[in-house]
Amino acid sequence: MAGAASALFLLDIKGRVLVWRDYRGDVSAVQAERFFTKLIEKDGDPESQNPVVYDNGVTYMFIQHNNVYLMIASRQNCNASSLLLFLHRVVDVFKHYFEELEEESLRDNFVVVYELLDEMMDFGYPQYTEAKILSEFIKTDAYRMEVTQRPPMAVTNAVSWRSEGIRYKKNEVFLDVVESVNILVNSNGQIIRSDVVGALKMRTYLSGMPECKLGLNDRVLLEAQGRSTKGKAIDLDDIKFHQCVRLARFENDRTISFIPPDGSFDLMTYRLSTQVKPLIWVEAQVERHSRSRIELMVKARSQFKERSTATNVEIELPVPSDATNPNIRTSMGSASYAPENDALLWKIKSFPGGKEYMLRAEFSLPSITAEEATPEKKAPIRVKFEIPYFTVSGIQVRYLKIIEKSGYQALPWVRYITMAGEYELRLI
């Protein structure tokens, strides 16, 4: 099962090589370029869009970011998930270095790009992708003055994500609990899929090597400790932890203990597949009056408690691509026609719980239609919103203990917010 990458290519939007690093000398740039330019020429063919393609003994795996393709070529039976994920991490590292990864930033920094490619992967095996630590010993021009005497300990340490000797005057931790609600409602108004994906996003400004321990109102943990769990405890379906969390310990006694990286990172993500009532419900009636006029009547209802308020609500309503002359009225917020997306965008800044708002819109349609009617693109209604100080799951951070040998006090700040993820309601 051993297998590794032969080479890593950074290509422009037309598939031409910008920078590449040859790891094994068995795939040439000419060969890869020739193949890839052909591949992106013929889009439309569904199989040519697969991110893993085979040609002439070589497998190519690629992702796209802005106007750059990142591609790995291999002649072996390599680990596809690991290498594709690695490409995404390469994007993260480049973004950390150059703010944005695009053709220009690669050209402007090709020396560092080569250095990074040399450090992140060796002989086709992913090695190290912690941007923060990498930037301690691979530096861009402005910071090159001092001579690096050795790689940071972190590179090979068990704690590979944090360097020693970090100092802050004020030790603080910010913890944001962000829940995204994904929902799919079919044209009969039935909820066919709903889940909540939560993330504990942390920003740490802590000195030294702090030991952290996080307590949640996790039912399994509370029950194990023999505490009462009436009403407050929650069940999390699948939890994923940042690599700093000791997984074996969690498996044993559900304790979340870790030495955090410096700065911001996702400590954990979780998923809840219990059915939730859609927080914002949208009903749309579309009426085609004669051939030349279409009328939309839309009702949006907030289905959460009155004490919470959704902010920045955006409801994207699909309209026929040949609609013109919009005439729109709303009972709240503002609506604008976005012909580039074939949509009507209804924005409501503040939407308190238990309220209902209306929108009416009328469009003209061309009276002549093509004879062979191709099916209309059936986009769903999509909704975006944020509800601060509220979580669907009811998750609570019970404590976040921070212990460092110097004994400083650090204060954790916790915020909760719920937002719409992939929130789709299919039209009739």
């Binding site: 099962m1 991110p51 072996q76 680990n79 690096t148």
Partner: protein, 897 residues
Amino acid sequence: MSGHDSKYFSTTKKGEIPELKDELNSQYKDKKKDAVKKVIAAMTVGKDVSSLFTDVVNCMQTENLELKKLVYLYLINYAKSQPDLAILAVNTFVKDSQDPNPLIRALAVRTMGCIRVDKITEYLCDPLQRCLKDDDPYVRKTAAICVAKLYDINAELVEDRGFLDTLKDLISDNNPMVVANAVAALAEIQESSSRPIFEVTSHTLSKLLTALNECTEWGQVFILDALSKYKAADAREAENIVERVTPRLQHANCAVVLSAVKMILQQMELIISTDVVRNLCKKMAPPLVTLLSAEPEIQYVALRNINLIVQKRPTILAHEIKVFFCKYNDPIYVKMEKLEIMIKLASDRNIDQVLLEFKEYATEVDVDFVRKAVRAIGRCAIKLERAAERCISVLLELIKIKVNYVVQEAIIVIKDIFRRYPNTYESIIATLCESLDTLDEPEAKASMIWIIGEYAERIDNADELLESFLESFPEEPPLVQLQLLTATVKLFLKKPTEGPQQMIQVVLNNATVETDNPDLRDRAYIYWRLLSTDPEAAKDVVLAEKPVISDDSNQLDSSLLDELLANIATLASVYHKPPDAFVTRAKSAVQRPEEEEYPDGSETGYSETPSHATDAVPSASGSASAAPTRQVPVSPPPAAAPVPDLLGDLIGLDGALVPVEEPMTPSRPPLPVLLPASTGQGLQISAQLVRRDGQIFYSMLFENNSQVPLDGFMIQFNKNTFGLAPSSPLQVPQLLPGSSAMALLPMAMFQHVFSGPPSTLLQVAIKNNQQPVWYFNDKLSLHIFFTEDGKMERANFLETWKSLPDSNEISKDFPTHVIKSMDATIEHLAASNVFFIAKRRNMNQEVLYLSAKGPRGIPFLIEITAVVGTPGVKCAVKTPNPEMVPLFFEGVDALLK
């Protein structure tokens, strides 16, 4: 932190190289560094700056780490083209490998390992030895990988210098990153070696499982992948392993999760307790579902793997079908895979919901996705008997939308549903007939015609319907013509009235006299004969009951499935093909850059149309999407005809009409089947290497048992010991369903020679425009290569025999072979260019001396000893190239049989 390196790209004047040369030799450090950057910039855009080699290498001795890295990078690129100059760098490399700064030590070893120049490699050994025992883990982890690099260049050197043992020691290193890299290196070395080098024992297992907790996410993947090969001794050990691996399912890195799933599934095979297994299945479901929130490319890999996992253990995700419902913004490749899994998970319990989804998809805009959704409905109907009726009503609703391609696709699947449930749903035929005139795709047309023919007795105006097609008969594609022919015959047999009688005249006339299509003509003649000799027999044949088709949405056979599951997360699991189908053997795959510039278009190969090959090759979703429909034999196979006197004629006809390049004498044994029709989606290929008039040919027989005409055949051979490759393109005419064709492909030797030890393996890839690429293995029999001028004079024979050292004489016994008559054997061998020299008797034994001349003029002097009529033949051979002897004996083995 943005740079301004783009300025280095801008100097593209004519005098660039001399200018750079000056700057490289400048005494000012900054100017020097800028010059090297310009060189690297030029290299990046593909300019050849190898002529600056000496000047760049002169910059290597520097305190400046950045400059050093750039020079190293240059060396990696150009050392190969300047091997003699590369030696200049060795001193600095060796010095750097002892630098006080571990970054530089590691850099030196890492770079040296990337330079594939023998002279450099020799000097690598000592620094590598030191670095493997370096105090700094960063250096050790780099050195560990370097051993794998060196093994790739010169395996012997690695073994001689004892690097393997040092590497194995690193498994017990106290640094987890070093351990992980050592495991990766050892696993790779093991892959390309036939000897056991790295075998996980229970001791290393426990050590590695401990390291798992501490190493980087990538290191965890190396370790899990290496450990997944470990076979636990018993159920208890398996349970212990699983217990230590399950925490990995909580890792944020999807690759770690998938590798952990692989390992758990492997160990589960051994676990007997159903409770434990059930519990594990329960534990694996949520992480698998979560993979679907990853980046779309990762989702794709995950979905291809989940496809395998649900085939093996359907219960894991039985209740999770909803998570595979397509989102509006999913990329098409994700949607296609989700659909495939939805079909697999569809059950009586969830079919209503699934059908609603399929119906929704069938009204989307992406045509391929829509078609697949319609087919999915058909596959569910075939799979779930109780849901068939609901599936049909959804299909009928879709037909009513009157979107052309939806209607056509629906009719194709309805035909399959009729095959699966005969005499059940014919009431809908009237609705189908309404859309008759909108059909313009051959497959849909053919399906509709099949339906009309099959149910002619229930369709009042069947004759009118068929007649409407008959007018355009000559213009129809072969698939439709064949169906029309059969359907008309069916109609006639069912309703032998005047109308059909006239129609059959027209059709038979069109299909015999007016056509050039041998397939159609064959079938028409058979029908004609059948109808004129014995109409009752014709009924038995044409209206025979058809075998019921079944759903094949779990199409992988269990041994392949197990192999793929052992390869979860790897490319094999993405392609659903075993690794050797796309990896050209671990070792030989490593081609050096200069060989690797493909011999473009020198043969039939895909190199001219690489993009074309792509969508076919391991055909990620291609094979999976080949719905059950394709296997439906629409007309009864003629071979089953119970009319014996026809058969003789049939074969005669066959021979006359099928394009045959080489007259097939019936006495010649049939060619061995290399690609059975069952694996080739109906395409069967038999082939053998033959020698005719001093020239080697690949004699091939293609038989198309599928339902679609196949054309555009191309062939390619992998590198092989004798570099055998086609000397002209493969010419196979379009193969209509049910027909066959012979081809004699002239071969040339020493085209792409595989440089490894001699082997008889000949890997062949064949593709056509309709199917994925087929791979199969053939054998190179050495006797094919014996040349006609291999006969030696007696004196010459004796002299050569004496001149070769005795160590070159190798003998082998063939205990089961019998020589019945010496003369017949001599004659038989002479036919294969093994020439008789002399014969003598020793006691009751006969001793034959023969000679042959192999490829590249290698002589073989042969002594065969046997007792006539008694089993047991001894064969001794002397040749200057003893490494060929094993192949020679394989050839002899075949010849004496």
